[in-house]
Symmetry: C2
Subunit: 199 residues, 2 copies
């Protein structure tokens, strides 16, 4: 299950790994092919172009990520307090990113470098998930447990940027992913100011 052994999936897995590490322009087809145990031209038996391959990695990454986070939030049930749900989403997002999912890390790394038309399509696919974050944020404001003076869109942009940045600076050995996730949630929900914070 971890490594599907058909060629197409091996190529996708390898592409996600290389894209995550090298970025869009740095991801050469020859290296992707090597990771899949074949040579570059063989990729064209499975994908019509590099762009198509990259786009499929992006779509997979979005799907992996959103499915994981939604599952971790919805297990709390719809009656959980909005802030509890939001915290769960934050922790799940970092957890997932740092637990090494190459697909979602690849999205975080190369999204801004995508060709315009492709970025539009990927963004469209992302929008339902974006709305999920937005709903979590707005729900907390609606029931009075979060600051209504903050713009929900700005909060979401800052939140996602902050969380996504982890994959570029996290190195195993110092803080564990779970600790970083807790710090992110504390910082976002309660802020840096204040000598202690509510439990």
């Amino acid at each position: 299950m971890a490594h599907a052994d058909n060629g197409r999936t091996r190529i996708l897995d390898s592409a996600a790994t290389v894209l995550r590490q090298k970025g869009l322009a740095g991801a050469k087809l020859s290296e992707i092919a090597k990771g899949a145990g074949m040579l570059a031209p063989s990729i064209y038996h499975h994908f019509p172009s590099k762009d198509h391959l990259v786009e499929e990695v992006m779509m997979e990454g979005i799907y992996h990520n959103s499915r994981h986070i939604v599952a971790r939030v919805e297990v709390l049930g719809p009656d959980a307090a909005p802030l509890v749900r939001l915290r769960a989403a934050i922790v799940a997002h970092i957890d997932f990113l740092l637990s090494g999912d190459d697909y979602s890390s690849a999205v975080a790394r190369v999204f801004n470098d995508l060709p315009d038309e492709m970025r539009r399509r990927v963004l469209a696919a992302y929008s339902s998930f974006d709305n999920y974050w937005r709903d979590l944020i707005v729900a907390a404001q609606a029931d009075g447990s979060a600051s209504a003076t903050l713009d929900p869109t700005v909060v979401r942009k800052f939140l996602i940027a902050m969380l996504d940045s982890c994959s570029s600076w996290y190195r195993p050995g110092k803080l564990a992913p779970a600790q970083i996730a807790e710090q992110a949630a504390d910082l976002l929900l309660h802020g840096f100011a204040g000598s202690s914070r509510p439990a």
Copy 2:
């Protein structure tokens, strides 16, 4: 003063603009040259390679940015409360980024794509400025006005990632830079939770 008219500076200005908009791989020498009113090979009269040119843009960007922020913080005087100084730094950083400085935006955009050796050098140049942020953070923790349970390094990474993200999603016409800056400072210092915040 806005546009120095010697060739070398025109090339640097154009490179910063193109790097900011297109990223590292997307920034072609021909386009940089066009922005400077010349053709690609002429660049080599002023710079030995594209890498040298890019590195100089990065160094300028760091210098611009740090000088601006330090000035806006230090005008408060050393006796200002640490949190007041930190807030000033946050506001100044966003202000500067969104006010359209191409050099510092270029740094935020391409830093992660830089070749390894060059990224090390740029990071080294950045480290004194990094320490400046760190000192602001640690000072607030030391005098009890900020949470001591948060790791200063993690706070700094999250903070910078959040602020730098502005340049990729900000569009004139909605919230003004000053408003975004205020929201960033409120979110970071006081958090999203809480129905109101201290003045």
